[in-house]
Symmetry: C2
Amino acid sequence: MPELRRDPVTGRWVCLAPGRALRPEAAHDSAIPPDAHPADCPFCEGREGRTPPEVAAIRPGGSGPNTPGWRVRVVPNLFPAFSDDDADADLADPLHAHGPALGASEVIIHSPDHRRWLPFLSAEQAELVMATTSERYRRHSVPGVGSVVPIYNHGREAGASLTHPHGQVYATRVASPVLDEELRGAEEAYRGVGNCVFCSMIEVEEAQEVRLVAQAEAFVAIAPYASRQAFECWIIPRRHAADFGEVEDEDAAALGVFLRDVLWRLYQEVGDVPLNWYIHSLPNATGDWSRSFHWHLEVRPKLTEIAGFEMATGTYINTTAPESAAAMLSAHGGPSPEATDPI
Amino acid sequence: MPELRRDPVTGRWVCLAPGRALRPEAAHDSAIPPDAHPADCPFCEGREGRTPPEVAAIRPGGSGPNTPGWRVRVVPNLFPAFSDDDADADLADPLHAHGPALGASEVIIHSPDHRRWLPFLSAEQAELVMATTSERYRRHSVPGVGSVVPIYNHGREAGASLTHPHGQVYATRVASPVLDEELRGAEEAYRGVGNCVFCSMIEVEEAQEVRLVAQAEAFVAIAPYASRQAFECWIIPRRHAADFGEVEDEDAAALGVFLRDVLWRLYQEVGDVPLNWYIHSLPNATGDWSRSFHWHLEVRPKLTEIAGFEMATGTYINTTAPESAAAMLSAHGGPSPEATDPI
C-alpha cells in the first residue's frame, strides 16, 4: 500500500508506491502510437472489463456501465498512488515521519480513439473531455482535501505509461508544495500592488501583445514572462476565481476547445514533443486566497531535459525567449472543429 | 546575453539563455560513447584550442596551459548561463522583473579519457577530480554569492550535451530555491530536536542499518528515508560543516573515491542509467545556518521520468523503497583502485 514519508530536512512529502513498479511500460518511444486498436490496450472500446469498474462516463446512447458506447470514461487508477486505504501514521518521528497516502487517483480516458490525443480530437469531444475533468475535480473537492490536480502526460518521456490518450485526476490529503509556493507568492503580490497578479498579467500581456499565444472569450493563453522551458504556455481564465470548481459548465467546455487550440499550435510549431499539462487550483478557496489566487492551466513541453542544475537549485535555464515562442505560436491558425489525423 | 527573470507569482528566478540553444546535441543516445576519441570532441587531449582558455588544470609533467599533458582541466563554459557580464536590471516591475545572470559557469573535464566516467576512472583520478571540484568551489565562494553548486549530468536524458565526462560548477548571485528550502527545513529541525538533522541521520541510519549504502572513514552513503526517486543516494560527511569550502584537501580527495564507489554500486545494480549528482552547500555559512545545515552530495538516478504529477505538485511518487535500494547497493563490493572498462 502506498505511504507518505516526510523528508526530515525540507518537510516535503514523498509518496512511496512500490505497487506502481508493476505498471506497463509504454510500448512505443513515439508519442503517437502507430496501431489504431492494439490488442493489449485496456482503454480501447470493448475492453471495459480490463479496467477497474468505471466511476463516471458519458454515454449518449444510454449504454450500461462498463460496456461499449461511451465517449469519455473515468476509472480508478489500477495502480493508485493515492487512495482511501487508511493505515498507521507517525508524524512525530523527526527522521522517519510517515502516514497513509490518502486521496484518489483516477484516469479519464479522453475518447475511444486510441490514436488521437486532444489536438486531433473534434472540438466537441474536447468539450466533453474538459466537462468530465471539471466534474471529477468537483467530486474530489471535499472538505479537508489538500490538493486536487488534473494532469496529462503526453509521450513516454513525459511519464505516460499507456499510449491511449488519458488524463488523470489526483486528490491528496497533503498540500502541494508547488501550489503552496504559488499561493504565498500570489498573496504577496496582491499585498504589493492591490490586485490579483494573474488579472494584472492578462491586462498587461494583452496590452503589450508580445507574449500572447491565443485569445478567446473566456480565456487568454500567454508564454509567461519567466518561462521555465521553451514554449511553456499558461491558459488563464478571464473571470477571477481561485477554485477551478467554480467554473461554469459552459466555460469548462470552452476550456477544452481552447486547450485543444493551444496544443494544436504547439504541434504545428515544434511537432510531437513530450509534454505535460495540469491545472493549478485551490479547492474550496476562502478568505485571502480567494482574492489573490487565480486558477490556471500550465502546458510544459519537454524540448530539452531537466538537468542537474535545475534539480540542484530549482532555477531553470531556458534557451527560448517566451516572446519568440509567442510570436511563433500565435502566427499559426487554430484547428478546424473536426477531428483530424496527426501528420 | 543571459538574463534572469523573476516569476511574478512565486518569486522564483529563471535564467533565460538563448545562446545556449546553439549547444551541440549529444551524438549518442547511450550514456557510454562507443568511440574512444571522436574527432568532434572538444574535451579530448590535443583539442585544447577548441575550448575557451583553461582557468585551472592538473599538469603533473609541468606542461603549459592549453596544451596536452593534463589530468583534470577546467575551462569556462562556451555557452555560459551565468557570467560576469553586467546589464540593466529592473527588480521593481511586479510582472517583468529582470536582471543580468551574474555568476560563473565552469566545466571540469574529469580526465583525458573520453570513454570513462567516474566509476571507471582510477581511484587516484577520482581524487584529482574532487580535489579540483573543491578548489573551484572555494574559488567561487566570494562574498555576496548566492549559491555555488558543483553538478554532474550523466547521459543525454539527464541533460548531458557532450559525452566526454565532465562536471560543472555554477556560481549564481541569486539564491537557490531548493537550497533555501533545505536551509529553512534544517533550521526548523534543529530548533525541534536540538541537533543537526544530518548528524542525527548518520547516527540513526548507522544504528538501524536498513538504509545504509556504504560507509567510509569520513563519509556515509544512505538511501534517504523519503527518497524521491528509485535508488536516490545521499553522501553525508561525518564531520559537521555547512560549507563544502571548509572540507580538508584529504577529505575532498576521499569524497571522490567514495562517490566513485557509490556510482560503481549503482552501475552494478541498475546498469548505465542517466543520473545527476550535485553538492548542496552553503558558501560562507555563518550563524544559525552553520549549526543547522550540513553540506552533502545527492545522487539522483533517472530510472523513470518525472511526470505531470511531480511537476504540478512538487510531490514525488517513488516506486522503489529506499530499504530495498540500500539492500541491493550495499550487497555489491566496491571497485578496485584501477581504472576499468564499462561492461
